[in-house]
């Protein structure tokens, strides 16, 4: 069944059984340094530290990590292009490169580089948490922060259902493809439409049946659950605090 790489990595992570708060301290600490310290050296240091923590300390497989950061990297790159390029019809500023009214200037490049540094560093800090902590654990962690239970229940249920519907959509699509429903372009559109409408109906039916199934287990409107507590690890907390502090000191150090 289809399962995103990041989700698979999170469930299989060496850090799976670590306390979510411990991991969040490390990840959010690096994130704060990444966005608030000067890009050089702070952002770069935070980014490097987040990458090292993910790949070396938590041993997230490199391929999965690369796939997880690929999409946000494209996003950052597109955003950076818009910052680097300026529209200059009067030809008044010194440009590194220009064609017609489109120019790339030195200040523009500096701003773009800053954006890349911050964006990438912040993103890797978040991926560190995401690649080591499954969504359900994150949601359980949010409960401690007094986020309303209803919100967390809906999010957790949505997370579970998404995989169910993705599996259903996948098998419906394969079944149609097996009967040659996707050999032509119009066939492909029709197949996609049929799969989408079928999944919608199934989702409806599933919700109805799940409600009946839960009623039998005593459901009265709240999806309350408990999971075994995950104790804090003192060595991990100390190591994480040291790393974040070191990065921050390095980041704000007047070189």
């Amino acid at each position: 069944m289809h399962q995103p790489a990041l989700d698979r990595a999170a469930w299989a992570s060496r850090w799976r059984t670590r306390n979510v708060g411990d991991k969040a301290l490390l990840s959010l600490g690096l994130l704060i340094v990444a966005v608030s310290a000067p890009v050089w050296p702070g952002g770069v240091a935070a980014g490097a530290m987040a990458v090292a923590c993910a790949l070396v300390w938590a041993r997230v497989p490199v391929g999965i990590w690369a796939r997880a950061v690929a999409a946000p990297t494209v996003f950052i790159a597109v955003g950076v292009l818009a910052v680097a390029i300026s529209l200059d019809t009067s030809r008044s500023v010194d440009a590194v490169w220009r064609t017609g009214p489109i120019a790339i200037t030195t200040p523009g490049l500096v701003r773009a580089a800053e954006l890349v540094g911050r964006g990438f560093a912040g993103m890797t800090a978040v991926v560190l948490l995401a690649a080591t902590t499954p969504m359900v654990d994150l949601l359980t962690g949010l409960r401690r922060l007094r986020i309303p239970d209803e919100l967390i229940e809906v999010a957790a249920l949505t997370y579970r259902m998404l995989f169910l519907f993705a599996a259903t959509a996948g098998s419906l699509h394969r079944a149609q493809a097996a009967r040659l429903g996707t050999t032509t372009l119009s066939g492909r559109f029709q197949t996609a439409g049929r799969v989408a409408s079928r999944v919608f109906v199934l989702a409806w039916d599933r919700a109805r049946r799940l409600e009946a199934g839960l009623a039998g287990r005593g459901y009265t409107g709240a999806l309350r659950t408990v999971t075994p507590p995950r104790p804090h690890s003192m060595p991990f907390l100390i190591a994480a605090t040291l790393l974040v502090t070191a990065t921050a000191v390095l980041g704000w150090f007047p070189w």
Binding site: M1, Q3, D7, W11, R16, T17, P134, M135, V136, D137, T140, A156, L157, Y159, R160, F163, L164, A167, R206, R209, L210, A212, G213, L214, A215, G216, R217, G218, Y219, T220, L223, R224, T225, V226, T227, P228
Partner: protein, 274 residues
């Protein structure tokens, strides 16, 4: 011990009645099978007995008392009678195995610690400790089934209604499942299993309820499954140990008055005795 029953039960969906004036008493054993062809009303009957589906006429009986559908009474019924649906995805709402199993115990009003103890107990009983750290969406159909059963078992019901617990399982999976049912029985749980596997029914159960054509027949499994009129009316077939001995008797290879065999071992023993 809790006994279930039904009196004058009528249940139907929009297209007609499925069960009509059904009166049964699930007494005389703790290993029950509900047998019947596809669409005969096995699932419907279990749903009614579990309190999930309300009959249009008649009553469900628990210890001889008619079941009331007021929320309090229904909650009381569900403490004692739990049903596991055929499709585990109709029951598993959390991606986390332990969290999902803890749902029922918490609804019983247990404290989080007690609920976690029940989770451990159910996981041990169903031997699914190795699945606890995997997300539900990574589990196979058979593994999900075990988790769904654990969710019901964690509530320590006295009667467990299982809808086709062995469907889709491989031979080893079926043996494992029967092992689980044995352990449940040792703890005093009455297990009622809907199936159309007549061989399994003969080997495992002591009592059988056959649904078909709106009504039901109840009796000792061997007796019911030896009765060709019941079997053909319900569109089932004779289990192979009974079929084989019937033919061997016809061929004069076995005496006609022997004990009816239930398993391969029984058949071999019969032939050895000769």
């Amino acid at each position: 011990m809790v006994t279930l029953g039904a009196r004058g039960l009528r249940v139907g969906y929009d297209r007609g009645t499925v069960l009509d004036d059904l009166t049964v008493d699930l007494t005389g054993g703790t290993r029950w099978v509900v047998l019947g062809a596809n669409g005969s009303g096995k699932t419907t009957l279990l749903s009614v007995l579990s309190g999930a589906l309300r009959p249009t006429a008649g009553q469900v009986l628990r210890n001889g008392q008619p079941l009331s559908y007021r929320p309090r009474a229904l909650a009381e019924h569900r403490r004692v009678v739990q049903m596991v649906l055929q499709d585990p995805d109709d029951q598993l709402f959390s991606a986390d195995v332990a969290a999902d199993i803890s749902f029922g115990p918490l609804n019983l009003g247990l404290s989080p610690d007690d609920a976690l103890a029940r989770v451990d107990e159910a996981c041990a009983l169903l031997t699914l400790d190795h699945l606890r750290d995997r997300p539900v969406h990574q589990l196979s159909g058979g593994e999900r089934k075990r988790v769904a059963i654990a969710g019901a078992v964690a509530m320590r019901p006295q009667v467990l209604l299982l809808d086709e617990p062995t469907a889709g399982l491989d031979p080893e999976g079926i043996d494992d499942m029967l092992g689980v049912l044995d352990r449940l029985e040792e703890q005093g749980t009455t297990v009622v299993m809907a199936t159309h596997d007549v061989d399994l029914a003969l080997a495992w159960s002591t009592r059988a309820l056959v649904v078909g054509g709106g009504t039901a027949r109840v009796g000792d499994t061997t007796e019911i499954l030896s009765d060709t009129s019941v079997i053909s009316a319900a569109r089932l077939r004779r289990p192979w140990p009974l079929e084989l001995t019937a033919r061997l008797i016809d061929a004069g290879l076995l005496p006609a008055d022997g004990q009816a065999p239930r398993t391969m071992a029984d058949v071999v023993a019969l032939l050895d005795d000769r």
